[in-house]
């Protein structure tokens, strides 16, 4: 994968190959290594033998979630210049190649996320286990008696307030997990991987749009007419100002639900307004790694957005104001206290990445605001 990434950010990636210590959070590398060993035990199927499957999550009381097989292929990212309500940052369109992956059929729901968030362990602010009475210092990720590999994955400190913001029916499997930072979502993926033996991560922006379009080139994956959105998505026009049960609308052609609306979905990439200008035509799996905490990309629009923000090509970006009402300084790296409309979806790439790549995917918080 390194060679392909070169097309996006050559300097950064070359440096990472040269020196592991330049990886983000090198102190957490032993945990990544152990998870990598676990994942490598299973042989991946051939691309044409990928099947949808259901994953069981032991640490979430054996809750399950369904994954859809997304075949590899080519597509055109961005929107044509003539698309109504198009943003400047949606072009120029580029042709890209995407390798196969499985993607969550639904947005990640609270029954999966709450056990990760309410992990019932004393944790430092950075999510490592607290062994020294001081919440501001981190301790090495060692497994001690009674602790599993899953426990030593860095995990959120408890939320200040219930993070469903009074929407829906509390933390429920019917509703998407929201108010989660990209860092927290990535750590959730690590937590999932450590207990399932399958590598999970957030989708890149390119993977997300490829999956959303499911072969279409129109403004939405059901055509160009926003009037039909009622059948496929939740926006401010029909959501009653709150998130809705996942999977209640029609799926796209590949069987993915709520790609338009309900909650916007976090992606792996740093947001660059000119990302597509910089992307090489024909690149495979492009990705802009995060080096700064803001802005990063989210996609799909939400219950709180006008319908045009739900278009397949529409791009959103995170900003510090998403943590506005966090009462503490430094503000928690785990919560977007002002983003009751922002959730995420996980993917499992067919090809297992190297330890270093895996580590980079899961340690995406950037070191500056």
């Amino acid at each position: 994968m390194h060679s392909r990434l070169l097309s996006v950010l050559p300097l950064l990636i070359a440096a990472a190959r040269a020196d592991d210590a330049k990886l983000p959070h090198p102190e957490l590398l032993p945990t990544t290594r152990k998870i990598h060993e676990l994942v490598a035990k299973e042989t991946a199927p051939a691309a044409d033998a990928m099947k949808p499957f259901s994953e069981k999550v032991p640490k979430a009381a054996d809750a399950t979630f369904d994954l859809v097989a997304v075949p590899g292929g080519e597509f055109t990212i961005g929107s044509p210049a003539g698309e109504a309500k198009r943003g400047e940052d949606e072009g120029p369109q580029k042709k890209l190649k995407i390798e196969p992956f499985w993607m969550g059929k639904l947005e990640v729901t609270w029954d999966l996320y709450q056990p990760f968030m309410d992990n019932q362990k004393a944790r430092n602010k950075d999510g490592t286990l607290n062994r020294d009475n001081n919440l501001t210092t981190s301790e090495p990720p060692e497994q001690k008696d009674g602790e599993s590999l899953v426990d030593v994955v860095t995990q959120p400190t408890p939320p200040h307030l219930p993070m469903h913001f009074g929407m829906g029916e509390g933390y429920s499997k019917q509703y998407p997990a929201v108010g989660v930072t990209a860092h927290a979502a990535s750590k959730f993926c690590e937590w999932l991987s450590a207990q399932t033996g399958h590598f999970y991560r957030l989708p890149t922006e390119a993977e997300w749009e490829y999956a959303c379009r499911a072969g279409t080139t129109t403004a939405y994956n059901f055509g160009d007419d926003p009037a039909k959105l009622d059948d496929f998505g939740w926006s401010v026009a029909n959501s009653e100002y709150q998130y809705q049960k996942v999977g209640a609308k029609k799926p796209n052609a590949w069987g993915l639900y709520d790609m338009h609306g309900n909650v916007a979905e976090l992606c792996l990439d740093q947001y660059l307004p000119d990302a597509y200008t910089k992307a090489a035509d024909g690149a495979t799996n492009p990705w802009v790694p995060v080096t700064k905490r803001y802005p990063t990309v989210y996609r799909g629009g939400s219950w709180n957005d006008d319908p045009d923000k739900l278009r397949s090509a529409a791009r959103g970006k995170t900003e510090p104001a998403l943590k506005m009402i966090d009462p503490q300084v430094p503000k928690s790296v785990w919560y977007f206290t002002n983003a009751s409309w922002l959730g995420f979806r996980v993917i499992r790439p067919l090809k297992t990445p190297s330890v270093e790549e895996m580590h980079r995917y899961w340690n995406m918080d950037g070191d500056s605001e």
């Binding site: 469903h164 929407m167 506005m324 009462p327 300084v329």
Partner: protein, 432 residues
């Protein structure tokens, strides 16, 4: 319901309006023009919330300076300073104005500051408030104001003293500054929705900094030092989860009832899930009895991994107010939405910031905000609920004020022996 004969103050014998506003001028009046003086700020309690309060104070006014900092633990000061770097020249706290230890508050107060921010664990609040007011400093105080009856009484005296000295006391009951919640509660307190018939408020969450089961004090640490490091888990420092956290819901009950005095409370509570060495309950259910046959009911719990919500439901004659997230008014049928607060996109306001903006704006105008009495009363209301649960008795507001409960002496030192008080057992536990 208007504050009249039912006003709590008449029960307390603290007649704020008649206290002579004599004596000391405000530090912002007189020869120094209020609008131009640089205000020096002292931060007492440099944890995450204290640092948050400092950043809000520094953002609230162009001509302020963070001048001194104090915390029980020295590293907290360094961390806090590090996190306030963005304010550059507004932060001027050299080594000699960084004070560590349990007497740090006094040194901050004496360091030449005009305003202090009190953000230490609540058990210390009455002592810190008293020292600040006596020294003539304007105060922002985080909630709650105290953890016991003696503390509340001390806070009331300090509030009275502040009135005499023209000193401001601003509070951290933050929801009273949230624009949407203010609008919603305004519909209750103005009488627009008719009489309050009943209320059900919840604060169902998770323990914020849980002491782990089996976790013991390290040999090197003093008893008091260890308890302060884990202050949320000890009654004498935090007041328990009802005081420390769910007091927001308690305060909104007081607000919905127009800050009138309650009659009594009956309650249950206990430790259903906790097995650690601390002594705080993890759940309470309380019925506050108010004049006019109004029962305000609230549930508090810190149960990890389970159902969670923080919702106030205020049932009024002409509609039900739902707060604090997405403030709205439902019709008398309990379903149809009559009103909902929608901030303009990009115009959301941070309630913590609004609090400090109003505080500093009033100081600049030479106006005195003194919310000390109601801050004390809202704290006392939480103690009423807690003590009803701990004793298993119906505790009246009047009797509570006669109690002399004091959970810890002032002046404890890190190395002192201070055994953890037993978890209260209803029927055995007595309200002192």
């Amino acid at each position: 319901m208007k504050p009249s004969a039912l006003d709590r103050r008449t029960f307390l014998g603290v007649t704020g309006a008649t206290v002579a506003a004599a004596g000391f001028p405000s530090i912002l009046k007189g020869e120094e023009a209020a609008a131009s003086k640089q205000l020096k700020i002292g931060l007492i309690g440099c944890g995450g919330r204290g640092t948050g309060a400092a950043s809000q104070a520094l953002s609230a006014d162009p001509n302020v300076k963070l001048w001194a900092m104090g915390d029980a633990f020295a590293p907290a000061i360094t961390n806090s300073l590090n996190n306030l770097k963005n304010f550059s020249a507004k932060v001027e706290v050299p080594e000699e104005r960084r004070f560590a230890g349990l007497d740090a508050f006094q040194k901050v107060i004496e360091s030449g500051v005009d305003v202090v921010l009190l953000a230490s664990p609540p058990g210390f609040r009455p002592q810190h408030l008293r020292a600040a007011i006596e020294a003539g400093k304007h105060v922002f105080a985080e909630k709650p104001m105290a953890v016991d009856v003696a503390g509340v009484k001390s806070v009331l005296e300090s509030a009275k003293l502040a009135k005499q000295k023209n000193i401001s006391i601003q509070h951290g009951f933050c929801w009273r500054f949230a624009p949407g919640v203010r609008e919603a509660y305004g519909k209750i307190t103005s009488g627009e929705l008719g009489r309050v018939c009943s209320l059900y408020g919840t604060y169902f969450g998770t323990p914020p900094k849980p002491l782990q089961p089996g976790m013991k004090r390290p040999d090197k640490m003093g008893e008091v030092e260890w308890q302060i490091a884990w202050w949320n888990n000890f009654e004498w420092l935090s007041g328990g989860p009802l005081l420390e956290q769910a007091i927001h819901t308690v305060d909104k009950i007081a607000w919905a009832m127009n800050d009138v005095a309650p009659i009594a409370a009956i309650a249950n509570g206990g430790r259903a899930m906790r097995t650690d060495d601390g002594n705080v309950y993890d759940h309470y259910n309380i019925a506050f009895e108010y004049p006019g046959g109004v029962i305000c009911h609230m549930g508090e719990r810190q149960f990890p991994g389970l159902y969670a919500e923080v919702v106030d439901r205020v049932y009024c004659e002409k509609g039900t107010v739902i707060c604090p997230d997405n403030p709205m008014v439902l019709g008398p049928d309990g379903k149809k939405r009559q009103w909902m607060y929608r901030p303009q996109p990009g115009a959301e306001q941070n309630m913590y910031q609004v609090c400090h903006n109003e505080f500093f704006a009033s100081l600049r105008k030479g106006e005195i905000i003194n919310k000390g009495e109601y801050m004390a009363n809202s704290t006392m209301l939480a103690i009423l609920g807690r003590e009803a649960a701990h004793t298993g008795l119906r505790v009246t507001w009047e009797d509570l004020w006669k109690a002399d409960q004091d959970l810890a002496p002032d002046g404890l030192q890190f190395k002192d022996t201070f055994p953890i008080a037993p978890v209260p057992v209803p029927g055995k536990y007595k309200l002192a």
